[in-house]
């Protein structure tokens, strides 16, 4: 959509409307969970394990209970009385709320202290005495599967090893045959490290149980309030919490990125405490707790193989992956996809054969496997295919851009059925890559690189032409704990022509209050400024599965359009009634219905809204409202081509991103300014794991990377001035032709950077560098190759 259909006053799709949420944020008037203070509110703090695996011999709370202000200490035994010491994960595994026998990772919750203020609660935590007996730890996921490895989940009676699942997809026999017949086969091991979303707001909640009416309200940092309500009802039904008495409120959220999808033990303990004590209980984790105990992302050990003909035609892809899930499978994937959407691994290429295997394994690390601004393991898949493509280019001595062009799925083949079973909705990959090459001046850069190489300077150019898969998802295949992954919107148009629109999702910075208002404006012609968008309160918003995996625009945005269209149908009938004509004689223009051939005869949406309450046709219900629960027919497949230029310092090994051009295609765009902002942020969160971020453990299971001292999040100094552009290939099945966009850049950027670094070092015989590509790693390579200064 080149030019917006609506005027700036209406601000439908295509307008860079300034965000409606900003006036409160720039005044310090946001309302985040920790900003909420309720009368009589108590504070909770958590005692955590110093050991990665240990038996709990005793917990002595005597000293803690003497600390002024401390009211109670809750441990596993307390919760066991109510059978609340274990809870299900989103993957139908189980995890401890508080342990009764042993701890399974360093920083695991051991007990909780309830006190009158947060300082007293922290004092209480210091005074709780826990006696541990250390147990043998399992940290290396490969060793976890060896015979004789300690079996970690002794709580599961029939569990005899540490394997969580084996999952495979694709045609094994056909793939093996293609490999046997291939001219060239390249193989590469690659590790996608464990990282953490580290949203600037940590997680927390206030649980407020009203003993008089039996109602529980939980203000919570959650991306999926409705699903959480249902989970709470299912987990705590046996102690009398019934779903109609549970209200989850997700107020302003300071970044989510997937880390605020799971139910963390802290939420459950605070809720139990409030129910027992009858007062509001606030729990806000600190940064170290956030990094050390909340769900991690990634941690995929990948072995990839790519088969090709001599001319560079890719023929088959084979991947075997070990997925370290920590001590419980607490990933946030759709139920039928234990490895998420890793099956997008054939990427942008017309591969006839592919076979993928993933094994999930337990270790003594925090549970998880959530996204890091990514749609369920897509980043892992994209890194794998984009990296191995460059390995093939190197093997064949082909230009990586030319190799990609040769293998792209041709535009005319869409909708395209991939070898791993997905139906890509739309795409035009060569155009995006060519555009990125033109913007960055690809051919000139290759010349410059050759000259620099001759002078002994290290410069690299890296490409990533990724395909994403977002907008989960069609109910046939997609559910979380059985809840189908539709999403919803309810619109009410008021008599004066203003509207309120409520959605089942929850913005964490994506700008839904603006974007959704623009969708309603596009479809109804009510100015976006007059559309109040609300989300996050389960008592008022329609049921939905929440915001993650770039699903808001593809699913809830579509629901918004569909609800608006229902209203439009009724509005047209009212207009016909007012104009005394047949609805068939009316044409819709932005904000009004006009009689065909008589442009002076029209009714505005505001006039129609007023009539809906004051002069509605006999036989028609009054009012102007609609609800839509949108079940998407397919996922959407945004794509893009990124090119990164790096310079490497021979003295320090530092990688400097000189330029980074991102050409994205997310179909039709609702708010170009917001899309650009999403891409900037996504690129930065793509650079982060490529160059900086990793959470590591030593052999005893001690975490490194457990605070901002040593978990390096990009600052303004490392982050380059991103250059963005776009192509527009609308989604054929989305009512607005839109696709998701919030995560494309996080997914697409890491291989572009890694490919650029390898490209800079390729002439030294370097074929692969593991991310994060730290100065130390690069310096060691330079040193080893005799190229360090």
């Amino acid at each position: 959509m080149a030019t917006p259909r609506t005027s700036p006053e209406i601000s439908g799709m295509g307008h860079s409307m300034k965000r409606k949420e900003d006036p409160r944020f720039i005044r310090g008037r946001g309302n985040y969970v920790d900003d909420i203070q309720l009368p009589g509110m108590l504070h909770m703090d958590i005692v955590r394990s110093p050991f990665a695996h240990a038996k709990i011999k005793s917990i002595n709370t005597e000293r803690a209970l003497k600390v002024p202000g401390v009211l109670a200490v809750i441990d596993g035994a307390t919760l066991a009385k109510f059978n609340l010491h274990w809870m299900p994960t989103l993957m139908s595994d189980t995890q401890m709320v508080l342990p009764t026998e042993k701890v399974m990772y360093q920083a695991q919750e051991v007990a909780a202290v309830i006190a009158t203020d947060r300082y007293a609660a922290a004092d209480g935590v210091e005074a709780v005495e826990v006696d541990y007996e250390p147990l043998p730890v399992v940290i290396d996921p490969f060793k976890a599967l060896l015979p004789g490895a300690p079996v970690l989940r002794t709580d599961k009676k029939d569990k005899k090893d540490n394997r969580i699942f084996h999952w495979e997809v694709g045609d094994k026999a056909g793939t093996d045959r293609a490999f046997a017949e291939a001219d060239v086969v390249v193989k590469q091991d690659m590790y996608i490290p464990r990282i953490h979303v580290a949203s600037i707001e940590t997680c927390g909640c206030i649980a407020d149980f009203d003993r008089v009416n039996g109602k529980l309200t939980v203000y919570m940092t959650t991306q999926a309030p409705h699903a959480i309500r249902t989970v709470f009802a299912l987990v705590a039904g046996h102690v009398g919490l019934s779903e109609e008495k549970i209200r989850i409120v997700s107020p302003d959220i300071g970044g989510g990125f997937g880390g605020k999808v799971p139910v963390y033990p802290g939420y459950v303990i605070a809720t139990a405490a409030s129910v027992v004590i009858g007062k509001p209980v606030k729990w806000i984790e600190d940064r170290m707790e956030n990094l050390q105990a909340d769900s991690f992302a990634r941690d995929y050990h990948i072995h990839a193989e790519l088969a090709a003909r001599k001319d560079g035609t890719m023929t088959a892809l084979r991947i075997k992956t070990l997925a370290d899930h920590g001590y419980a499978d607490a990933a946030a994937n759709p139920s039928k996809f234990p490895a998420g959407l890793f099956g997008i691994a054939t990427g942008s290429y017309d591969l006839k054969h592919a076979f993928v295997e993933v094994d999930g394994v337990y270790t003594n690390k925090p549970p998880g496997g959530v996204a890091y601004r990514c749609s369920f393991r897509v980043t892992e898949a994209v890194h794998c295919i984009e990296r191995i493509t460059d390995v093939l280019a190197q093997e064949l001595k082909m230009d990586p851009a030319a190799l990609r062009m040769k293998n792209f799925i041709p535009a005319e083949k869409f909708p395209y059925k991939s070898a791993l079973g997905w139906e890509y909705d739309s795409g035009n990959y060569p155009v995006a890559l060519r555009k990125a090459m033109d913007i960055i001046g690809y051919e000139a850069l290759r010349k410059e690189q050759a000259e620099k190489r001759a002078r002994g300077e290290f410069m690299g150019i890296g490409i990533s032409s990724f395909t994403e898969i977002v907008g989960a998802g069609p109910s046939k295949h997609f559910d979380i704990l059985g809840l189908k992954m539709f999403d919803s919107c309810e619109i009410r148009v008021h008599p004066t022509g203003k509207a309120i629109a409520r959605f089942g999702t929850k913005s964490q910075g994506q700008g839904h209050e603006t974007t959704y208002a623009q969708i309603v404006a596009e479809e109804l012609g009510i100015p976006a400024a007059h559309v109040q968008v609300e989300e996050g309160d389960t008592d008022t918003a329609p049921y939905g599965l929440g915001t993650y995996a770039s699903r808001s625009t593809p699913v809830a945005g579509a629901a918004g359009a569909m609800a608006a269209r229902k209203i439009r149908e009724k509005a047209k009938k009212i207009a016909a009634h007012l104009l005394e004509c047949s609805p068939d004689d009316l044409v819709r223009e932005p904000g009004k219905f006009t009689v065909k051939g008589a442009p002076q005869r029209f009714k505005t949406i505001q006039e129609i809204a007023f009539a809906a309450y004051t002069n509605h046709p006999q036989g028609m219900e009054a009012g102007l409202e609609a609800v839509s629960y949108y079940d998407p027919p397919n996922l959407t497949y945004p794509f893009g081509s990124y090119i990164c230029v790096v310079d490497i310092d021979r003295g320090t090994g530092e990688v400097k991103i000189r330029r980074f051009v991102a050409v994205d295609d997310c179909g039709n765009i609702i708010n170009p300014m917001i899309v650009d902002g999403q891409i900037h942020g996504g690129l930065t969160m793509g650079m982060a794991p490529a160059l900086m971020e990793e959470i590591q453990y030593d052999e005893s299971g001690n975490i490194s990377g457990g605070s901002f001292m040593d978990y390096l999040v990009p600052t303004s100094m490392e982050t380059p001035a991103w250059e963005t552009d776009k192509t527009v290939t609308p989604s054929p099945h989305h009512p607005l032709g839109a696709k998701g966009v919030g995560e494309s850049a996080t997914v697409g950027a890491p291989p572009a950077i890694a490919n650029a670094v390898v490209d800079a070092l390729a002439h030294l015989g370097v074929r692969h560098v593991e991310i994060p590509i730290t100065p130390e790693k690069v310096w060691r390579i330079l040193k080893e190759k005799g190229a360090a200064e």
Binding site: R27, G509, G677
Partner: protein, 158 residues
């Protein structure tokens, strides 16, 4: 634990309180004065979400004790708007899409104000250096730089 009497001027208004010695300035602002615009994002002076101005200098209020503010002037994000008119830095963040989730924003705004108070025409590198102690996970900093440039221009024109 003994309390200490402090007199602090916050956003132009004199505030007196009895506070424990260990009370952090950020908690004094957020919980005692209910100025919740100043946020907490870490506890180790890394993220800058809690940045406020102490006698005009940006400080991370999670590592300043409330008693250290005795007799001094504190400005928080709530003190930026004057006579219902946004500060140019606030305006810049809105116009240039310099914020997404809004959590780091108050700290960024305060750091931006402090920079522009001492440097009316900062280069891009100077802006990036100034905000390098304020982490943002959403924006990639590109539009934050533009927002501060917008404010600089606007302030110079005044």
């Amino acid at each position: 634990m003994t309390n200490h009497k402090i007199d602090v001027t916050v956003n132009g208004a004199r505030q007196s309180a009895e506070v424990p010695a260990r009370l952090l300035l950020v908690h004094f602002l957020r919980e005692n004065l209910r100025l919740t615009g100043t946020h907490i994002g870490c506890d180790t002076t890394h993220c800058g979400a809690c940045t406020v101005l102490l006698d005009g200098q940006p400080v991370k209020s999670c590592t300043v004790l409330a008693v250290q503010a005795q007799g001094r002037e504190v400005t928080t994000v709530e003190g930026l708007e004057k006579d219902a008119k946004l500060h140019p830095v606030q305006e810049g963040f809105w116009q240039k899409h310099g914020l997404q989730c809004g959590y780091c924003t108050p700290g960024m705004l305060m750091t931006g104000c402090a920079l522009l108070a001492r440097n009316k025409d900062p280069s891009e590198v100077e802006i990036r250096e100034a905000i390098s102690g304020n982490l943002c996970r959403c924006t990639g900093y590109v539009n934050i730089v533009k927002a501060i440039q917008y404010a600089a221009e606007k302030l110079r024109a005044q």
